[in-house]
């Protein structure tokens, strides 16, 4: 039984988020769940998949960013609560 975990990457601009997407695409076992565009250019990407795949994807995404200022933060939730993404207006994992 494989538990699907959640990865979050936050960038400080839309172009940086596109760069991370290109980096994440190297890892093929993950799925991009959604994005949230906050004010001030902050874009958050949500990915789901196995824990190791998400770790790899996030590391690729970080590497693909040129400037340190583009990357804000990232987080991995190994076993997200069922209602978590519903509360944030996204589909169930």
């Amino acid at each position: 039984m494989t538990f699907e975990s959640l990865g979050i990457i936050e960038t400080s601009s839309v172009s940086a988020s596109l760069k991370t997407l290109s980096g994440i695409a190297k890892e093929k076992e993950i799925e991009i769940v959604g994005k949230q565009i906050l004010g001030g250019g902050i874009v958050t990407l949500f990915i789901k998949g196995e824990l190791g795949a998400i770790k790899r994807a996030i590391s690729f995404g970080k590497d693909s960013l040129d400037l340190k200022s583009d990357f804000r933060s990232s987080n991995i939730i190994p076993l997200p609560h069922q209602q978590l993404l519903l509360k944030f207006g996204m589909e169930k994992l």
Partner: protein, 287 residues
């Protein structure tokens, strides 16, 4: 309990999602919703019991600070209806907000019902409480009375034991070295004591030497008197010649030693034969 609202605000979704996950996993507080502000600020609202909300927001802020930036957090206990209306505008998860409003209303109604039930059942409720109180009131003093007398009995004994010993022991040291009038005081003290205590002191060796000497002198005088009276009695009393004829030598010797007026004394009695002793007894009885 009081229904309360907790708020966490962060810049960026990562910290807030981490906080929301921790709150959802670890506490029964409900998440009212998420409100997006300008410039990347996001705020999260939760509701529930005040203790749960406080704990959840502490845990959430700590978890969020590990990952991203959390600007501020707040807990509001017992929010008013107007504040809840504002929340309804800010957090569009209406069902949850309505539930919160309903819960508050229900709590108030419950309190009223409880008050009514209390007033209606006061008479029924008070009776058992009074009974319990009466039982306690009865039981407590009995325990106290059971305990106290034992102490009361014990204490005076110890006092009686301790004080006379001190009174006697102190003068005894002075008396052995010093003058006679203190002896009189001692004797008075001794007279004031009861016989049982005197015996105790004698047994413990607490009585003074001089008093013992005096007592011994008195007792020796008494003994001498007793002995003289016995002599007279024995001298006056006739010797039982019939008993002597049935006696052994040893018994005769012992019998002879009882008579102070017996002509033979000491070892001469022990050397004497049975016949000699019988003759001597006969000579005494004739006199």
């Amino acid at each position: 309990m009081a229904n309360s609202v907790g708020l966490i605000e962060s810049k960026g979704l990562v910290a807030l999602i981490e906080a929301a996950d921790v709150i959802l996993k670890n506490s029964p507080a409900k998440i009212l919703g998420i409100h997006k502000l300008d410039n990347g600020l996001v705020s999260l609202a939760i509701s529930g019991n005040s203790d749960y909300v406080k704990a959840a927001i502490e845990a959430g802020t700590e978890a969020g600070k590990r990952v991203g930036e959390i600007y501020s957090s707040a807990v509001i206990d017992n929010p008013t209806k107007e504040l809840i209306k504002l929340f309804r505008d800010l957090f569009p998860d209406e069902v949850v907000v309505n539930e919160v409003v309903n819960e508050i209303v229900i709590e108030k109604v419950d309190e009223q019902i409880n008050l009514k039930t209390d007033t209606s059942e006061l008479t029924e409720l008070l009776k058992p409480t009074i009974k319990f109180e009466s039982k306690r009131e009865k039981s407590k003093p009995i325990l106290v009375t059971q305990v106290k007398p034992v102490i009361k009995i014990k204490k005076p004994n110890t006092k009686q034991k301790d004080k006379p010993e001190l009174k006697i022991s102190l003068p005894s040291d002075t008396v052995e070295t010093k003058s006679e009038p203190e002896n009189i005081i001692e004797i008075k003290n001794d007279k004031s004591l009861s016989t049982i205590e005197r015996l105790r002191q004698e047994a413990l060796g607490l009585v003074d030497k001089k008093t013992q000497v005096k007592e011994s002198e008195v007792s020796t005088k008494k003994k001498v008197e007793n002995i003289e009276s016995k002599k007279i009695e024995i001298a006056n009393s006739d010797v039982d010649i019939d008993a002597i004829k049935n006696m052994n030598v040893h018994k005769l010797r012992n019998y002879a030693r009882q008579f102070p007026a017996f002509p033979i004394k000491g070892r001469e009695i022990s050397r004497a034969n049975r016949e000699e002793l019988v003759e001597l007894f006969k000579s005494i009885s004739k006199k």
